[in-house]
C-alpha cells in the first residue's frame, strides 16, 4: 500500500529540512560515507589497497618476479606468506599485484561509465528515433553473453596485454549501465528545472552537462563501482584461464600460475587462496561502497537512528 512510502517520504522531507545547512553534494556524500558502517568498511579496505598500489616498493620486501628462493615454503619470518612453486615470494607478489588489479578496475570502470553515460543520457535526452537506435544498440550488447564474448575477444587479441583486457571488459560491461543511466535520465526529463533551463535559453549541451549530469552523480558513482567490481572479477577470470599476459604481475596471473603448478595439491595452498582472497576483498570494497551509495540516494533505505 502507498501508506508507508508516503510516511517515509514525509519524514525524509522533515529530515531534509533539518539537514546541515552547508549541504553541498560533496558534504552530503562525505557525511554519509563516514556515518554509514558499510561505507566505512568499504572506504577502509579500498584505502588500504590504494596505498599498497601507490607505493608497493615500500611494502614489498622482495622483487616479485625473482625466482631465487626455495620453492613452496610455508609462512616464515623471511617469507610472510611463503613462496610459490617457482620460488617467488608470495607476499611481494600480492603487494605488487595490487597495482595492476586496481588499475584495471579503475580504468575499465571509468571508461565503461563514460561510455554508458554518453550513450544512455544522450539517448534519453534526444528521444525519438535517436533514442530508439541507441537503445537497440545498447540492447544488442546487453544480450550478448559476456563470458563467451570476453573469451572470444581476448583469444583473438592474444598478447595484447593490459590494454586488450581493459578493452574487453569495457565492451562487455558498458551496456548495463547505459540502460540504468538512460532510465534515470528519462525520469528526470519531466523535472521542471530542465524545462526551466530550456525556457531560460540554455543550449542542449549545457542542459545535459550542467543540469542533468550533476543530479545523477550518485547513480554515476554507483555505476562506476558496479563496473569496477565487474572488472576486478572479469580480469581475474580472464587471466586465470590464461587469456591475459602470463608474465604480468597481478592476482589473476598468480592464480593462473598457481593452477598450472597444482598449488593446492602440491603443498602451497596459500599461493592459490591468497590472490583469490584479495580479489574477493577488493570486490567486496566496491560492493560495500555501492550499498552505501544506494542508501545515500534513496532515503527510504536508510536505517533510522533514534535519538532520545
Amino acid at each position: 500500500m502507498g501508506l508507508d512510502v508516503r510516511l517515509v517520504a514525509d519524514q525524509s522531507a522533515v529530515q531534509a529540512e533539518a539537514a546541515h545547512p552547508e549541504a553541498g553534494a560533496l558534504h552530503i556524500v562525505g557525511r554519509a560515507l563516514l556515518s554509514n558502517r558499510k561505507a566505512l568498511a568499504g572506504v577502509v579496505i579500498l584505502g588500504i589497497f590504494l596505498v599498497v598500489a601507490i607505493v608497493p616498493g615500500l611494502l614489498a620486501p622482495y622483487d616479485p618476479h625473482a625466482q631465487i628462493f626455495e620453492q613452496t615454503l610455508g609462512p616464515s619470518r623471511a617469507h610472510l606468506l611463503g613462496t610459490t612453486g617457482n620460488g617467488q615470494d608470495i607476499f611481494s607478489q600480492l603487494i605488487w599485484g595490487t597495482r595492476e588489479s586496481l588499475a584495471i578496475a579503475i580504468i575499465a570502470g571509468l571508461l565503461a561509465t563514460v561510455l554508458s553515460l554518453l550513450i544512455g543520457v544522450s539517448s534519453a535526452y534526444l528521444g525519438g528515433l535517436s533514442d530508439h537506435v541507441l537503445s537497440l544498440f545498447t540492447d544488442v550488447f546487453l544480450v550478448i553473453p559476456t563470458l563467451p564474448l570476453m573469451i572470444v575477444l581476448a583469444a583473438y587479441a592474444r598478447n595484447g596485454g593490459l590494454a586488450v583486457l581493459i578493452a574487453v571488459i569495457v565492451i562487455t560491461g558498458w551496456s548495463y549501465g547505459a540502460r540504468q543511466l538512460r532510465s534515470q535520465a528519462l525520469s528526470l526529463r519531466n523535472r521542471e528545472f530542465l524545462d526551466a533551463a530550456r525556457v531560460r535559453g540554455e543550449r542542449s549541451s549545457y542542459v545535459i552537462v550542467f543540469e542533468i549530469l550533476p543530479t545523477m552523480t550518485s547513480l554515476i558513482v554507483a555505476n562506476f563501482l558496479g563496473v569496477a567490481l565487474y572488472a576486478v572479477l572479469a580480469a581475474a577470470g580472464l587471466q586465470f584461464i590464461g587469456l591475459g599476459n602470463p608474465s604480468d604481475m597481478s592476482w589473476g596471473t598468480m592464480l593462473f600460475w598457481a593452477q598450472n603448478n597444482g598449488a593446492l595439491n602440491a603443498g602451497s595452498p596459500l599461493w592459490a587462496i591468497l590472490p583469490g582472497l584479495c580479489i574477493a576483498l577488493l570486490g567486496a570494497a566496491f560492493a560495500l561502497l555501492n550499498y552505501a551509495f544506494d542508501e545515500i540516494t534513496n532515503p527510504a533505505l536508510r536505517p533510522v537512528r533514534r535519538r532520545r
Binding site: F193, D195, A197, R200, G201, P214
Partner: protein
C-alpha cells in the same frame, strides 16, 4: 468578521485610457497543437489545443482557467517555445514567432517572455544554490550587467520578490526553503531577464493556502508597479478572479469563454463556466446542492468529431451542438463565448 479593505483589490489595475488599438504584447490566432498518440506510426492525434485566439495587452494579467486536460498548460508551453505549433500563429509585439531564426533572436524572445513553473519542489535544480538560475539568467539575458555587478543585481531582484535579506537567500539550497519561498525564487528568475510577459503555469497550485495569497499579491504588484503582463494558468477560478483582469475559460482544448474577469463571473455565458462556478466551494455563499451537470468528466480529445466538446455534459445541448463546432462570438461588450445556445445580452 470584517476584512479590512485598505487597498484596491489586485485586479483593479490603473484604468487604461480608452484607445482603439491596445498595445498587444502577445496575440495568437488559430493556435493549434496536436500530439501523436499510440506510437510512431499511429494515425491518431490528441488535440491538446485547437484554434486558440488569445490576446494579452500590456500591463494586464490574463487568466487561463480550465481543468487538467483542458489544454491550458499546452498553450503556455507553446508560448514558451517548448512546443512548436501544429497550426496557427503566435505574434509577439506584432512579430510572428515563426520568423525567429537565429539564436540571438530566440534568446531575445526568451528574455522577454520567461516562465514560472508549477511545482516548487522540482522547478529548481536541487544540486545548486538558488542563485544559480538567477545568475544564469543574468548572464544570458542581461549583457549590460557586468559580471562583477551580477551579484548585486541578483540581490536587487530577490528584494523585489520579497525575499529579504537577499544575501542570505542567495546562498541557500532549494531544500532549505519553503514552497512559497521557492516559488518566489521562480519569479525572481523570471524577473532577472527584464521580462515583458511572464508565463505563470499554476504557480500557486502546490502551495499552502495561506502562502498562495502572498504570491498572488506579488503577481499583482509586478503588473501594477512594473507594467509586466502575466498569463496566469490555473484551475482555480477564485484565484483567477482575485488577480486577473481578463479571464479565458478552456475546455477540452478550446477556449469557450473570454472576457473581463468580473463580467465573466457575474454573467457566465457558457454552460461549462456556469458549472465551474456552481461547483466552487465558497463558504460565504450557501451551499448549492443542485446536482446539475455532474455526470461525466472532461473528455480526452483524440481525433474528435465536429461539434461542441461539452455536449456530453451540457444540460442545454441541442441538435446543432452535435454537428457544428461553436465559435467564439460576442455576447456582451468585450465578452465572448463559444456556445450555440447562449444568448447575447442587449447592449447596455
Amino acid at each position: 468578521m470584517a476584512v479590512t479593505i485598505d487597498r484596491a483589490a489586485p485586479s483593479e489595475a490603473r484604468a487604461q485610457p480608452e484607445s482603439t488599438t491596445p498595445a498587444w504584447v502577445v496575440q495568437t490566432s488559430g493556435l493549434t497543437k496536436h500530439f501523436r498518440v499510440g506510437g510512431f506510426f499511429s494515425p491518431r492525434f490528441l488535440h491538446a489545443a485547437d484554434d486558440i485566439d488569445l490576446s494579452i495587452a500590456e500591463r494586464q494579467i490574463v487568466a487561463l482557467v480550465g481543468e487538467s486536460g483542458s489544454g491550458k498548460t499546452t498553450v503556455a508551453r507553446l508560448l514558451a517555445l517548448i512546443y512548436r505549433p501544429t497550426r496557427g500563429e503566435i505574434r509577439f509585439k506584432g512579430r510572428p514567432l515563426g520568423s525567429l531564426r537565429t539564436r540571438r533572436e530566440v534568446l531575445d524572445y526568451r528574455s522577454r517572455v520567461p516562465m514560472v513553473f508549477q511545482d516548487p519542489y522540482s522547478s529548481l535544480n536541487p544540486v545548486y544554490r538558488v542563485s544559480h538560475g538567477i545568475m544564469r539568467a543574468l548572464k544570458l539575458h542581461r549583457p549590460e550587467v557586468r559580471p562583477a555587478d551580477r551579484r548585486a543585481e541578483a540581490e536587487r531582484v530577490l528584494e523585489s520578490v520579497g525575499l529579504t535579506p537577499p544575501g542570505r537567500f542567495l546562498a541557500k539550497y532549494p531544500h532549505e526553503l519553503s514552497g512559497g519561498q521557492r516559488q518566489r525564487i521562480g519569479f525572481a528568475q523570471a524577473l532577472a531577464s527584464s521580462p515583458e510577459l511572464i508565463l505563470a503555469d499554476e504557480p500557486v497550485s502546490m502551495l499552502d493556502v495561506s502562502v498562495r495569497i502572498g504570491v498572488l499579491n506579488l503577481m499583482a504588484q509586478l503588473r501594477t508597479e512594473r507594467g509586466i503582463s502575466i498569463l496566469y494558468i490555473t484551475h482555480d477560478i477564485a484565484s483567477a478572479r482575485y488577480v486577473a483582469d481578463r479571464l479565458l475559460v478552456m475546455y477540452a482544448g478550446h477556449v469557450v469563454e473570454s472576457g473581463p474577469s468580473e463580467d465573466v463571473l457575474a454573467h457566465p455565458k457558457h454552460p461549462y463556466t456556469q458549472l465551474l462556478l456552481s461547483a466552487v466551494p465558497d463558504p460565504r455563499a450557501p451551499v448549492n446542492t443542485m446536482p446539475s451537470a455532474d455526470v461525466g468528466e472532461p473528455p480526452r480529445v483524440v481525433d474528435p468529431s465536429e461539434g461542441c466538446r461539452f455536449r456530453g455534459r451540457c444540460p442545454y445541448a441541442i441538435e446543432v451542438c452535435f454537428q457544428v463546432t461553436p465559435r467564439l462570438r460576442e455576447l456582451r461588450r468585450d465578452h465572448t463565448a463559444a456556445c450555440h445556445v447562449a444568448t447575447a445580452d442587449p447592449a447596455e
